[in-house]
């Protein structure tokens, strides 16, 4: 990779935001939360396709697990209704637990895979579950004239 960043802090201090890629929702299976796995062209030079697809597929699986309607969610719903929803004062819903898991997963992916490549994934919950926002950073040391362009031409020639 042309630009090297070793951790998230370094990314923020020494990089400037070049571009953002938005992965939209995939509604072909209804209103359940799923994101499109199409590999965006702006990321072609930044990250391997398999890594990217793995991340998005894992996220989709997590969301499917969170929204799965099974015995546990029904039980939770009935119990909540019987207690006039006061039970949520003490208890966390299964959905919230999975959302936390997703937050941790995204953090871990950012640290291990995306930040070293100058990318940052924003948790979809921050965008109302509409998009997965991937920010593309450029090293500030590289030529500033390419700050708005796509990453293919933005890679610095050192």
């Amino acid at each position: 990779m042309a630009t090297e960043f070793h951790n998230l802090q370094e990314l923020r201090h020494s990089a400037s935001l070049a571009n953002k890629v938005f992965l939209q929702r995939d509604y072909s299976e209804g209103t359940t939360c799923r994101f499109q796995t199409k590999f965006p062209s702006e990321l072609e030079s930044r990250i391997e396709r398999t890594l990217f697809e793995d991340t998005v597929k894992t996220l989709n699986n997590y969301y499917a697990e969170a929204e799965k309607m099974g015995g546990q969610s029904y039980l939770e719903g009935c119990l909540a209704c019987a207690t006039a929803y006061l039970i949520f004062l003490c208890m966390e819903t299964r959905y919230e637990k999975v959302l936390k898991k997703i937050g941790r997963y995204i953090q871990e992916q950012n640290e291990k895979i995306y930040a070293p490549r100058g990318l940052l994934i924003t948790d979809p919950i921050e965008r109302g579950m509409r998009v997965i926002e991937i920010s593309i950073y450029e090293d500030r040391g590289s030529s500033g004239s390419c700050s708005g362009s796509s990453s293919t031409s933005g890679s610095s020639a050192r």
Partner: protein, 372 residues
Amino acid sequence: IITRTHRRKWQIFPGRNRFYCNGRVMMARQTGVFYLTLVLIMVTSGLFFAFDCPFLASNLTPAIPVIGGVLFVFVLGMLFRASFSDPGVLPRATPDEAADLERQIDGANGPSGPGYRPPPRIREVVINGQTVKLKYCFTCKIFRPPRASHCSLCDNCVERFDHHCPWVGNCVGKRNYRFFYLFVLSLSFLTVFIFAFVITHVILRSNRTGFLSALKDSPVVVCFFSVWSIMGLSGFHTYLISSNQTTNEDIKGSWSTKRAKDNYNPYSYGNILTNCCAALCGILDNLFISSSSLPFLLFSSFSSISLLPPPSLSFLLHLSPSSSLPSISLPFLLFSPSSSLPCLLSSSSSLPPGAAGSLVVRICRSATEQGS
């Protein structure tokens, strides 16, 4: 994630809402009708507990006030939950997101000259074999997810938009539909309960002390009409839940076979039980806008009350065919016929026929879509 702003999300929220309690409560400028709902429920129940319960508890069973109390608390709890909850507001697109979408749309449509208005932006998606059109919302700058709609009163796109209810003072959408439904259902139980025991009280009293039969007549007739209305509403929503439709979809006839011969609802799970479970016991998801550490306090999206005559719910047309302005009367016109309490409605038989109509108010409204 990237930067922490010092201003909370609710402080920069672009919709038409007001916030209280440090962002924990979200209300609109005018909440008059919600307070009216609250007052009416409390006054009716208060009258019941004060004047009928002592008699019934001592002569029948003390379980009556207890059950009534539980129902009353449940009704209020569900009302607050429905009113104060975020109905499923979709946050507006960030400028970057909006620009990205514009680029995609322009790329698809081709470049246009100045003064040329591009065709309405629509994306089509096939869900379960049925083609669904996703419209672009010009206010929120997003393509609305399926079943979402823009509420013109709250100025927000709401997921799984059902309708805007002035009585609850909020939109009814994905996150608070079950509270709304439970509110209406428990309210119908409460009104039937109160109604039945008020009649019992009157009958028992008149057996003993020969009560004036005039007191029996008019309030009870009005109460009967009210109870039917609320029960009708809960029946209608039970039908909607069992077929997994929203009020919005039902009114528009989106999945009706009158539109196209092979039209069907792609969101339905096929059987009634699964549909009910999905609507009532499905996910209760987190809020993007939550700034509170208390997970159960959610945000309301009250709105200014429109005085325009609303389009009615389709079932109302079935129930009241003669009226050009179908409406639902409140179940709150229950008056204890105890002798120590002045009747709020004239108890004489000269009750003008329009009095019931003047007390009848529109209960729910389906907001028109904006931005299409």
